[in-house]
Subunit: 702 residues, 2 copies
């Protein structure tokens, strides 16, 4: 992929450049020709000239080299035109035309044809069905959007052209971009390609995107982590819609039912260290704060206000965001005390009072930013009678210049009276928001990067005790017999290969063998029916509990006759004799589920009401699971106090739980043909060695 | 209280009117004199004239009647001036001067003196330490805020002057006010007085306030409920800071520990049917939407957008707010289908596509508003190349005029390109917000009023089986004996009077009596030590469980010697012989706690991890508790599925639980001297008759 040819071209062909004012082809040609300093070649067989430069009938009739083709012709003509681009050795193309995958099967076939042509000719392809892109530093508006935004450090890409247009209009002068890219149908160039490209681009300081669907969780996680783990991390901010939509497919498994459509994306963003925002307005606020500030060293925030009430509200919001109100040093407090009026508050949140002029703000700013306990600063200005908003803004600018390593967010709670100050700050690259709450929220996100860095580890699992071939045989045998839902005995055998321990058990097919097996176990046992036709054993009377080993033969007979009566048509193949669980311990549910196009999700939750009533479960992608991910899965459960130990009760052995998650992830990686897997329950105790799997279901694809 | 004289005066004295430009007294006089059409009397013994009208040395030297005195003189002079107002029979005064309660004890005494004078002379008193008030309809700026806001239907009052100023500046032309009042120290006029006043004012359609502390929960709840229950309810919107601040006093009780400082306010607002917002920006958005729309008939929202992605985000936000996406009638869908392009979405959220001009919006608007399944409408406009924002705004205005009964919120996601449309809508009283998310949030609040109306009931509890005098005797006896923490036997006796059932029990002081008591109970019993010196009985070995009735004498001896050994200095007065709980049932915790100035909070939660680990408890004020409140207390618990029945298990008898909460509230009303009361646990079963109180602690004030 040659994204550099696409985004930094020296010459551009506009194929479908139109003489019809207001049309897409006309706007596109106008946008490129009027501003782009490189060579422009409008391509239109019916025109001779456009915006003062000559038109060409096709790219093949252009003599010079062409780096980039912008294509805005009817869908049916695109593949022909793209072939010509290939012949002309144009390395990159943007297909703006619509009428492809988004229109149905025929359009999808047409789009696949485009991709084939692009690959054949090594053309890097953006779109189709997109708005184009804008690269302010290159003075290039390769889109039909109205105008170029300011140049700046933000690289933004959007699956929705409309959202991109809205963002550009909302950005006004406050947000500056390295590039704005409409990704459209993403036939070839996808989000991860762009993230990787801008990761290498030194001018880009913030990467952000809007998506409706993503693919290749593993790739995105890899890229995201490498960005996060760099000496100076480059934050990635994502807006993803469709949070509450119902899952795409109904599912019979617990894991499937719990993983709503959004669980996969939540897991993806967490694992990749990508910051997720909730809406377009929050996106602009977050971009504003991230593009104008360094990342803070920690999460300790100082608040400076001329309105006590707003200081308290900002405190609330900071605490809710997981920030800490900085404990000011006694030196700071003394200094503040020395020049603030008696009624002012020298503690954090620092209230300089409603009559504070710029000088009082200025001294407080310097004092707070000098404090080693302060990682970042929120300055709240309300328009009181004495307020000198513009002069205060100037003071903030000097303070920022003196303390460039500490983020500053200014909350201007007012309208007209603060407009001048707002403009001044915007033009001096200082983040200004409209409320203390959003200031606190974005500061929370700033400090989240540090937390993500800390939480995101790369310690991989390494299991040497797994016989993958043996596991493969079990699945193959089951599939060969037409059993896509594995028998219990096969589940046990399969999971045992991966180190999941079960209570001792043996499959038997006669009363004599049942007795022998039970005596061998030599503890109280349970008997469970084996039948290819019975999924829910208890309902069919197929489970017998608390059986004395010496009575196992009688119990076997009773079990067989009960099931035969309740399920007369079921084929009965014998019974499983299982050691009974000793009392105590806590039930957990583990599982995995395929997310088509993305990867395989693994899940853990506490059994019983926690998962079933409170839907308390956590998810991660198996393909990229690290030990730290597994640790976070446990920690983010609402019921985690029960895992960690609460109310004087000892917790569970977490090392073994983390190990179990690693093994589950390994299963997912070794066998993508496993569509669903539920381990329910896993019985966990304080000591890892006692962990036992009680029941499991595995379904493989045909 | 004569709030009408205060807010609609015909003549005003400005006491402390100053000739010093820029001072508070100067600004105040200027603000009144330049705009107020009634009579103005600046009072200043050292000046003869101000802003072209004569000054008076004191109100006593004014000949005409004065309705209102604005006082802005140094704190020490205020009481003298106020007395003169009394002599002059001025019915209302605003004390703008600071230097009272907010400065400490001396100031508080001074403020009490003001209140005494006001009461003696029947002066209605706003402040002290406030900004004054603004009444746009009266052309009266009785404050030192810069200028009058637009006139409109919002009555707003604020404990913080700075917040009021900020709100006024943020309001620009978009928000119109009936009155803006700075309440200051609230020596006399409090929030509830103002709510009641504006409840009666026909021009006021929305009441809103900012508070840092409130008093008299019962009064506020009464007012709020009556507003909510009117044929056409008048919404009350509150902003209250200090949500996450630590509770004011450490507490040894469960109820106390769980009731953070904010639990009381959450309960208050819920019980009063007051809508709570989270910050200043959310307040302005909510005021915008409430002041420009009727209340919707239901919670079914239609979304209309020219950007699919924002439609999906708005859908997410609506669902998160508890709104329903309206199921459009087939007629609506057909009509939409008839004029929308093929690629458009005729289902809700309706996507008219990026190239929609005003006419397409117009037809879609009318179609959606005609649909009987649509209660309210969110219109999203993004600035695309073809978008006719202003013409679309005009179409929205006509649609609003045709369908005035359905709320419309317009989300303009853009900047400059939509500015004209924004102004047009603001000037035609149509609510415009900046994002789909905030549009959804405010629509959620609009529909919350309907839900609050439904949930808020007035069915009172009426108990005829309570012998209050007997209960009083128990408390008096305990207090007389110096036991502010009641003995267990007294707790049992007291709670029994209020209908809480215990397992059979008897206090005994010898082994023989223990045996006799156990035989009388004739079931397995427990023995618990009785000692004024032991609070935590189990720790001292003072509880013996599972005692066979025939062994009770031996158990008594063993108990006594164990405790004597472990707590050698404790006075031992015998033991309580108690019937043992039969197994099963669910433990609940009930409690009450005083909230000084507000009232008494009662609490309920599920015992064990739910209250202790997950802090899952709900609260209401006892003084105003209705059956519907008690029902909501159960419903809003996160663990409510366990009360209602989940996973095939039967739920608990809710009628009896509601009854128990009613009885607890009655205790709180009968005995405000009970500082803390914990019932922990109450053992509840499927059948109400089995409910049993297992343990309780009661503490009374000295």
């Amino acid at each position: 992929m040659q994204l550099s040819a696409l985004l930094h071209p020296r010459s551009i062909a506009i194929i479908g450049a139109s003489t019809q004012e207001g049309s897409v082809g006309w706007t596109l040609a106008k946008n490129v020709i009027e501003e782009f300093p490189g060579k422009s070649y409008p391509i239109n067989p019916k025109a001779t000239e456009l915006f003062g430069i000559p038109c060409f009938p096709s790219v093949l009739s252009v003599e010079g080299e062409i780096d980039l083709a912008l294509i805005a012709v009817p869908a049916a003509l695109v593949s022909g035109v793209l072939k010509e681009c290939g012949e002309k050795h144009i390395p990159a193309a943007v297909i703006i035309s619509a009428g492809f995958k988004e229109t149905g099967e025929a359009g999808k076939a047409l789009e696949n044809e485009l991709l084939r042509i692009a690959e054949e000719h090594a053309i890097t392809l953006l779109g189709p069905n997109c708005l184009g892109f804008l690269a302010p530093h290159e003075h290039l508006n390769a889109s039909f959007a109205k105008s170029l935004p300011s140049a700046g450090p933000i690289a933004f890409f959007s699956q929705s052209g409309a959202l991109l247009t809205a963002l550009l209009d909302m950005s006004s002068d406050a947000l500056g971009y390295r590039a704005c890219i409409s990704t459209g149908n993403k036939a070839q160039i996808k989000e991860n390609d762009l993230i990787k490209f801008f990761a290498q681009d030194e001018e880009t300081r913030v990467i952000s995107f809007y998506s409706e669907d993503l693919s290749d969780a593993k790739g995105i996680i890899e890229t995201g982590r490498s960005l996060l783990k760099r000496a100076s991390p480059k934050p990635v901010i994502a807006l993803k819609s469709g949070k509450t939509a119902a899952g795409t497919t109904a599912s019979s498994s617990h894991t499937g039912a719990l993983a709503g459509s959004d669980a996969a994306y939540e897991a993806l963003f967490k694992q990749a260290g990508i910051i997720r925002v909730d809406g377009l307005l929050e996106l602009t606020e977050t971009l504003e704060v991230f593009s104008k500030n360094p990342l803070p060293a920690g999460k300790r925030v100082a608040l400076l206000t001329n309105a006590g009430g707003l200081g308290v509200m900002a405190t609330d919001a900071c605490v809710e965001q997981g920030l800490e109100l900085a404990h000011l040093t006694s030196e700071t407090i003394e200094t503040l005390h020395s020049f603030l009026p008696a009624a002012a508050n020298s503690q954090n949140p620092v209230d300089v009072l409603g009559d504070a002029k710029a000088d009082r703000y200025e001294r407080a700013l310097t004092t707070l930013l000098s404090d080693e306990n302060v990682d970042m600063l929120v300055v709240i200005i309300t328009p009181q009678a004495m307020t000198e908003a513009l002069k205060t803004a100037e003071a903030i600018m000097s303070a920022r210049d003196r303390f460039p390593q500490k983020p500053i967010v200014v909350s201007l709670s007012g309208g007209e009276a603060l407009a001048e100050a707002r403009n001044f700050l915007a033009h001096h690259s200082i983040a200004v928001l409209r409320s203390p709450e959003s200031s606190a929220r974005t500061c929370g996100l700033l400090s989240a990067v540090a937390r993500l860095r800390e939480d995101t580890g790369t310690t991989s699992f390494d299991f040497t005790d797994i016989d993958v071939e043996k596991a493969r045989d079990i699945l193959n045998r089951s599939r060969a017999n037409g059993h896509l839902q594995l028998f219990e005995a096969d589940c046990i055998e399969f999971l045992s290969v991966y180190g999941f321990r079960f209570f001792s058990s043996q499959a038997v097919a006669s009363r004599e063998d049942a007795l022998a097996a039970a005596r061998k176990i030599n503890k109280t046992v349970a008997l469970k029916i084996i039948s290819p036709d019975i999924v829910h054993k208890s309902d069919a009377g197929g489970v017998s509990l608390d059986v004395d080993p010496d009575q196992a033969d009688f119990a076997y007979d009773a079990l067989m006759s009960t099931v035969a009566e309740r399920a007369p048509n079921a084929r009965l193949e014998g019974a499983l004799v299982v050691e009974m669980a000793h009392p105590g311990g806590r039930e957990l549910i583990l599982g995995l589920k395929q997310e088509p196009g993305l990867g395989t999700l693994i899940m853990i939750g506490l059994g019983g009401i926690f998962v079933e009533v409170f839907k308390d479960a956590s998810f991660r992608f198996a393909e990229s699971l690290t030990r730290e991910d597994a640790q976070m899965m446990l920690r983010e459960l609402k019921s985690s106090p029960l895992i960690e130990g609460a109310r004087g009760q000892a917790g569970l052995d977490q090392v073994t739980l983390i190990d179990a998650l690693g093994r589950l992830a390994r299963i997912a990686q070794d066998f993508p043909e496993i569509v669903e897997l539920d381990i329910n329950p896993l019985l966990a105790f304080q000591h890892g060695a006692d962990f036992r799997t009680l029941d499991a279901r595995i379904r493989i694809e045909a």
